[in-house]
C-alpha cells in the first residue's frame, strides 16, 4: 500500500471501481477469439458477437455487413461505458476520465484540419471522428487557415488550449506543419496527464507513471521509425519526444540520430524492459513491432487490475477495450479479404 487509499477511496470511487471491474470481466477471452478467427463471413462474426456485450449494438445491423460498421458499433459500447462512468464520477476522478479522451480529441482536430486542407466536406469528416473526442465547436475548425486562427477561433475554449503554446505560428497549415502540430499536441498532453497523475499521488501515481512512460517510449520509437527517410530533421524529431519515460533523456539522444530499424533496435536493447520486445523480431524486421508493443502494453494494463483503490483501472479498461476493438477490426478485415491465414499476425490476446 502506498498511502491510506483503502480508508477513503471507496467513499467516492468505490462504486465506479466495481463497475469497471465488471466491465473488465466482459472483455473477450482467447476462446472467443478462437471462435471469431474461424468465422467465414462477417455475418458469422456478428453471430458470435451476439453472445457478448457487443450483441445489442450489432443485432439491428442489416446484412451485408462492412468491417467499419462492426468497428463503429463496438466503439459505441466503449463510449456508453465511458459516459456512464463519467457522469457518475466526482473530482478528481472526473478530470482523470476526461484526460483519457484528450488523445482522441487531438486526433479529431487533426482529421478535420487535414480533411479541410484536402477540400473535403466537413460533414463527411465529422462522421469519421472518434465519438470520445468530440466537442461542441469542432465543426468550426474548418474555417481556420493557420494555427493561430485554429487556436483563437476554436481551441482556446477546449481542454487542448494549454497544449497549443508551443504550436502557435502564423504559417499556413500544410501536411508537415499538421504532422508536427499533432505530435507536439500529443507530447504536451502526455506530459500534462503525467503531471496530473503525479499530483494525485499514491497507487494512481505509481501505476499511471509506468503506463504513461511506456506510452511515451513507444511514441518515441514510432516517431523515430516513421521519420526515417523523411524530411524531418534530427532536431525536429527530438523535439517531438516527451520529457519523461525510460528513454528520457539519453535514449532520446540516441534515437534522434537513428537512420534505420537496426539502430533503433540497438538503442532499445540497452533498456531491459524493452529487450523482450525486440527478442521476438529478426534483424531488419519492423512489421511485427506494433504487435510486440501492443502485447507488452496489454500485459501492463492487465497488471493494473491486480491492485485496488487507484484510478489506473479506468485507464487500463479503456485501453484494453480499444485493443479489443483493434482485434475485432483485424479479424473482420482478414475474414472480409479471405485471408484467414494471416489473422494471428495482429490479434493480441488479453486473457
Amino acid at each position: 500500500m502506498y498511502g491510506f487509499e483503502a480508508l477513503t477511496f471507496n467513499i467516492h470511487a468505490g462504486y465506479l471501481e466495481a463497475i469497471v471491474r465488471g466491465h473488465r470481466a466482459g472483455l473477450l477471452t482467447a476462446a472467443d477469439y478462437n471462435n471469431l478467427c474461424q468465422c467465414e463471413t462477417l455475418d458469422d462474426i456478428k453471430m458470435h458477437l451476439s453472445a457478448t456485450e457487443y450483441g445489442s449494438y450489432l443485432q439491428n445491423e442489416p446484412s451485408p455487413l462492412h468491417t467499419t460498421t462492426i468497428v463503429e458499433k463496438c466503439t459505441l459500447k466503449l463510449v456508453d461505458d465511458y459516459k456512464h462512468m463519467l457522469c457518475q464520477a466526482t473530482e478528481p476522478l472526473s478530470t482523470f476520465l476526461e484526460y483519457i479522451t484528450y488523445g482522441h480529441m487531438i486526433d479529431n482536430v487533426v482529421l478535420i484540419v487535414t480533411g479541410t486542407l484536402h477540400e473535403r466536406d466537413v460533414q463527411e469528416l465529422l462522421e469519421k471522428c472518434h465519438p470520445l473526442g468530440m466537442f461542441d465547436s469542432i465543426a468550426t475548425l474548418a474555417v481556420a487557415q493557420n494555427m493561430r486562427e485554429l487556436y483563437r477561433l476554436v481551441l482556446v475554449d477546449t481542454p487542448l488550449a494549454p497544449y497549443f503554446s508551443e504550436c502557435i505560428t502564423s504559417e499556413d497549415l500544410d501536411d508537415m506543419n499538421i504532422e508536427i502540430m499533432r505530435n507536439t499536441l500529443y507530447k504536451a498532453y502526455l506530459e500534462d496527464f503525467y503531471r496530473f497523475c503525479q499530483k494525485l499521488g499514491g497507487a494512481t501515481a505509481e501505476i499511471m507513471s509506468d503506463l504513461l512512460s511506456f506510452e511515451a517510449d513507444r511514441r518515441a520509437v514510432n516517431i523515430t521509425i516513421n521519420s526515417i527517410g523523411t524530411e524531418l530533421t534530427r532536431d525536429d524529431r527530438k523535439k517531438l519526444y516527451s520529457n519523461f519515460g525510460l528513454f528520457y533523456p539519453y535514449g532520446h539522444e540516441e534515437l534522434a540520430v537513428c537512420e534505420d530499424i537496426d539502430q533503433v533496435r540497438g538503442v532499445m536493447e540497452k533498456y531491459p524492459p524493452y529487450q523482450s520486445i525486440f527478442s521476438k523480431l529478426s534483424y531488419g524486421e519492423s512489421q511485427m513491432l506494433d504487435k510486440a508493443f501492443y502485447e507488452e502494453e496489454v500485459k501492463r494494463l492487465c497488471l493494473a487490475f491486480e491492485q485496488q483503490f487507484h484510478y489506473g483501472v479506468f485507464f487500463a479498461y479503456m485501453r484494453l477495450r480499444e485493443q479489443e476493438i483493434r482485434n475485432l477490426m483485424w479479424i473482420s478485415e482478414c475474414v472480409a479479404q479471405n485471408q484467414k491465414s494471416r489473422v494471428h499476425d495482429s490479434v493480441v490476446f488479453i486473457f
Partner: protein, 216 residues
Amino acid sequence: MEEQDQMQSSIEVEEVEEQQREGKRLEEENVVRFLDSLDSYVTLLDSLSSTLRQGWLELASARQSMGASRINGALLDLKSHSAATSLQVTHHDDEILNQPHFTLCKWASSKNGYGDEKLRENKLQTNSDGPQLRHRSQFAEKIPETKGAPLIVDDQVQKERTKSLSMFGTLVSPKLRAAQLSFETALETLVEIANVRLTMLSTSDQVRKELEGTEG
C-alpha cells in the same frame, strides 16, 4: 530438252515444298508465340491477384497500426493536381507487331521532367523469361544497370512516393509504405497484362487465319 523440263519441274516442286515447310514453320511459330503469351497472361493474372491481396492486407495492417482516423477515405485529396503516374500508348510500325504498346510513366513530375519511363519500358521489353513478382526494399529501389538511367531517379521517385502518401500525414507507418509499393507493383503488372493480352489476341488472330486458310 525433256531433262531440262524435268529439272525445272523438280526445282519448282522443291520450291513449293520449301514454301510449304516455311509456311508450316511460321504457323508453328505463331502457335508457340500464342501459347507463350497465354502462359504469360495467366501467370501475370495470378501475380496481380496475389499482389493486390498483399496490398489490401498491408493497408488494413497500416490502418490498425496508425488508427482509423489517420487512414480513411475522407482524407483523400480532392484538390486538382497533376497525375504522378501516366500511361502512354505508342504504336509500332512493325509489320509483325502491328499493335499499340502501353508504357507506364511512373512518378514523372511535369515540373522536373524526371521519371523512370525508360526504366519501365526496358523492363517490359526484356521480360522474355516470364513475369516475376518484383520485390523492393522499403526505402530504396534497386534499379538494374541500364544505359542512361541516372541514380538521381532513386531520390526523386522516393520523394514522389512520400508526397503521394502525405495525405495521410508525413510520419506514416512502414506498413503504409509497403502497401504503396504493393499497389505500385500491381499497377505495373496491369500494364504488362495489357501488353501481353494484345500480343495474345494478335497471335490468336494470326493462328485462326492460318487455320482457316489451311481448311480452305
